[in-house]
């Protein structure tokens, strides 16, 4: 069978001692940084990204995948222990997880989160392995018009990711697209918006933008109060869930996995949508809905599974179409391009070892998380107690070295400071950075495909509507836009988000 031989190739690639080691380092580093309060998966990956550049493409992407899972798990840990979710997707975990921790069941909550994630990760990895190859065949039929429409759908869906105002999220997407225009025009070679600085002719450095807008802006925000945070002082409690706990978590875990796998494929923040959807479903199905918000184990197991399944299946649009579904995947695209791998339907055919290696490493990364992190939880808790004023100078040093090492270009360091300031100002104005990053990555691709489609369609804009796939995607974009703007949905969204705050 194709699937088995492919998976064998994948595990052979990811299973070499060297790659296992990089995956392990990735998981540890990812958890280490991700567990720092207020720093979510995106910021963690942005900071650690440069470390992977020195490696072979396969090892580098495997290590990145490890960092990703580690960071996600680290985010859940802070959400449960100190009610500080680093990313909106673990915000849901914080609702009931923190309440469980306050009742002395922190250990159980952490174990349930890890077990749920592992189960969801296993199922979703298998789904990626089954569905990615046939989808690459469909993807090969995509022309410029289809790519443009699909990216438009992704960008519009991205606004579901943002916490606050939809208008602001849209504006951030457009601002990201504009920043993506900086650099030399691909068709005419005209430099655009470079202010005459030749170092910016290749475009703004993606790592600099990500580190500035996520990492540095976050540090500035944490320095506002300059006060100590309250770390959970009560005991962790027993790690292993009781038989009753296990029985209660099975059904939510299964439902969460199914929801997450389906929603994760959607471009634009499937994982976060999935964790909110799962929480709502569990609350509705529960016989004791009043327990939700006061430490219901279902409220941790469901969303954590959904979140992880969604995180996994969001690799599908990336590996088949080269289109990142969320900011983390956008970072992955950036890393792949720097490694000389062009993400898209050709990866599976041209570099099967890389393609299947990444898929296998997803599962290995998840396994390592559970083997490594359950015993190490005590250590992570200690790390939470390290005062922030010792941590952030270290982070700044790493960021500076990291950004510089990408291209050995000092202008990238000036850009980091600029983006840090910009990110902080925008954060103060309640504009979220995630849509901006997505816009920045998709901007050049969007423009290139628009221009190509218009040339191929002889300047007739109806080309987007007469091609069936493209038309379907545009209709879906319109539906998403209408749904998000509907008054009832807006109210519901506000409720869900305020519940998580």
């Amino acid at each position: 069978m194709d699937l088995i031989s492919n998976l064998t190739l994948g595990f052979a690639t990811a299973g070499t001692p060297e790659n296992l080691l990089f995956c392990l380092i990735g998981v540890i580093l990812g958890t280490l940084i991700g567990v720092l309060p207020g720093i979510g998966a995106t910021a963690t990956i942005a900071m650690l990204l440069p470390i992977t550049f020195q490696l072979e493409p396969v090892s580098s992407l495997i290590m990145l995948a490890g960092i990703y899972y580690g960071a996600q798990y680290g985010g859940s840990t802070t959400a449960i222990l100190i009610n500080m979710p680093g990313e909106s997707s673990s915000a849901v975990t914080a609702i009931d997880g923190y309440q469980m921790a306050r009742k002395g069941k922190a250990g159980t909550a952490l174990a349930v989160a890890a077990l749920g994630s592992f189960f969801a990760g296993t199922v979703a990895t298998l789904l990626v392995a089954i569905f990615a190859p046939p989808l690459t065949i469909i993807a090969l039929k995509f022309g410029a018009a289809e790519y443009f429409s699909l990216m438009l759908l992704g960008l519009v869906s991205a606004i579901a990711l943002a916490h606050g105002s939809i208008l602001k999220a849209l504006a951030m997407v457009v601002l990201g697209l504009l920043l993506g225009m900086v650099g030399t025009d691909i068709y005419t070679g005209t430099p655009r918006f470079t202010f005459g600085i030749t170092a910016y002719a290749d475009g703004l450095n993606f790592v600099a933008l990500a580190v500035g807008v996520f990492g540095i802006a976050e540090i500035l925000k944490n320095l506002e109060g300059d006060q100590d945070r309250s770390v959970l002082t009560t005991k962790l409690g027993s790690l292993w869930p009781s038989r009753l706990d296990l029985r209660r978590m099975v059904a939510p875990m299964l439902r969460g996995t199914a929801l997450g796998s389906a929603l994760g494929i959607l471009p634009g923040g499937g994982a976060i949508l999935a964790s909110f959807a799962s929480y709502t479903v569990e609350k509705r199905l529960s016989k004791t809905p009043e327990e939700f918000g006061h430490g219901a184990i279902e409220g941790v197991a469901g969303p954590e599974s959904a979140n992880n399944a969604g995180a996994q299946t969001s690799f599908i649009p990336l590996l088949t179409l080269g289109i990142p579904a969320n900011p983390v995947m956008a970072l992955m695209v950036g890393a792949m391009i720097i490694q000389g791998v062009v993400p898209g339907p050709n990866v599976a055919a041209e570099q099967p070892a890389l393609f299947w290696g990444i898929i296998a490493s997803m599962w290995i990364g998840n396994l390592m998380l559970i083997v490594l992190n359950l015993p190490l939880i005590g250590l992570w808790v200690k790390l939470l107690k390290v005062p922030y004023h010792i941590l952030f100078p270290v982070i700044m040093a790493f960021c500076s070295i990291g950004v510089y090492s990408v291209n050995v270009n000092v202008y990238d360091l000036y850009a980091v400071a600029g983006f840090g300031l910009m990110g902080y100002v925008l954060m103060k104005l309640r504009c979220e950075p995630a849509p901006l990053l997505l816009g920045f990555v998709l901007g050049p691709m969007l423009e290139e495909n628009l221009r190509r489609a218009m040339i191929l369609g002889r300047g007739d804009p109806t080309t987007f509507l007469t091609r069936p796939i493209s038309a379907t995607l545009l209709v879906m974009t319109l539906i998403v836009l209408v749904v998000v703007l509907l008054p009832q949905v807006r109210k519901k969204r506000a409720e869900v988000f305020s519940e998580s705050d």
Binding site: L175, L178, I216, Y414, G420, R430, E447
Partner: protein, 154 residues
């Protein structure tokens, strides 16, 4: 009743200004036709959309309630942002080791809680760690001590 949401108002104005800046620059470039778009075409469209969205945000700020803004991290901005700039200015001249030491030290000053001695110790520790990891272990091509220090005989 008619309070203005200052956060939204400032955000709206900021987006309009950014849109205008990009738009003005796009007009200076060849626009082309919709069949063969020039370098200025797509950015101009985007700038227009951004101005429009900024306008909507500004307009909506007049109808909503004002929100309290959190404190500004002035001290943070004063020391955090110059850190990478300092690293950029000196990494070639001073070399990696002294440059990363001062970068960490500058960043450490951003918090009032950091005592001078602790900051110094932390910076030394970070410098040793980074030199070992990035320069020796990962073999990044940085000069450890740059030409500005050549008079020291290094």
């Amino acid at each position: 009743m008619n309070t203005i949401n200052k956060t939204d108002a400032v955000a709206g104005i900021l987006f309009i200004l950014i849109g205008l800046a990009f738009g003005a620059q796009s007009l200076g470039m060849e626009l082309g036709t919709s069949l063969r778009m020039g370098p200025g075409y797509f950015p101009l469209v985007l700038a227009g959309i951004l101005i429009l969205l900024g306008g909507c945000i500004l307009a909506s700020s007049f109808k909503s309630i004002d929100e309290e803004m959190t404190a500004h991290a002035w001290r943070g901005m004063m020391f955090i942002l110059p850190a990478p700039i300092f690293f950029g200015l000196t990494v070639r001249g001073l070399g990696f080791v002294p440059s990363i030491f001062f970068t960490t030290l500058i960043a450490a000053l951003a918090s009032l809680k950091m005592k001078p001695l602790a900051a110094l110790l932390l910076s030394v520790g970070v410098t040793i760690f980074c030199t070992l990891v990035f320069s020796y272990a990962l073999g990044l091509p940085f000069r450890r001590f740059g030409p500005w220090l050549s008079f020291l005989g290094m």
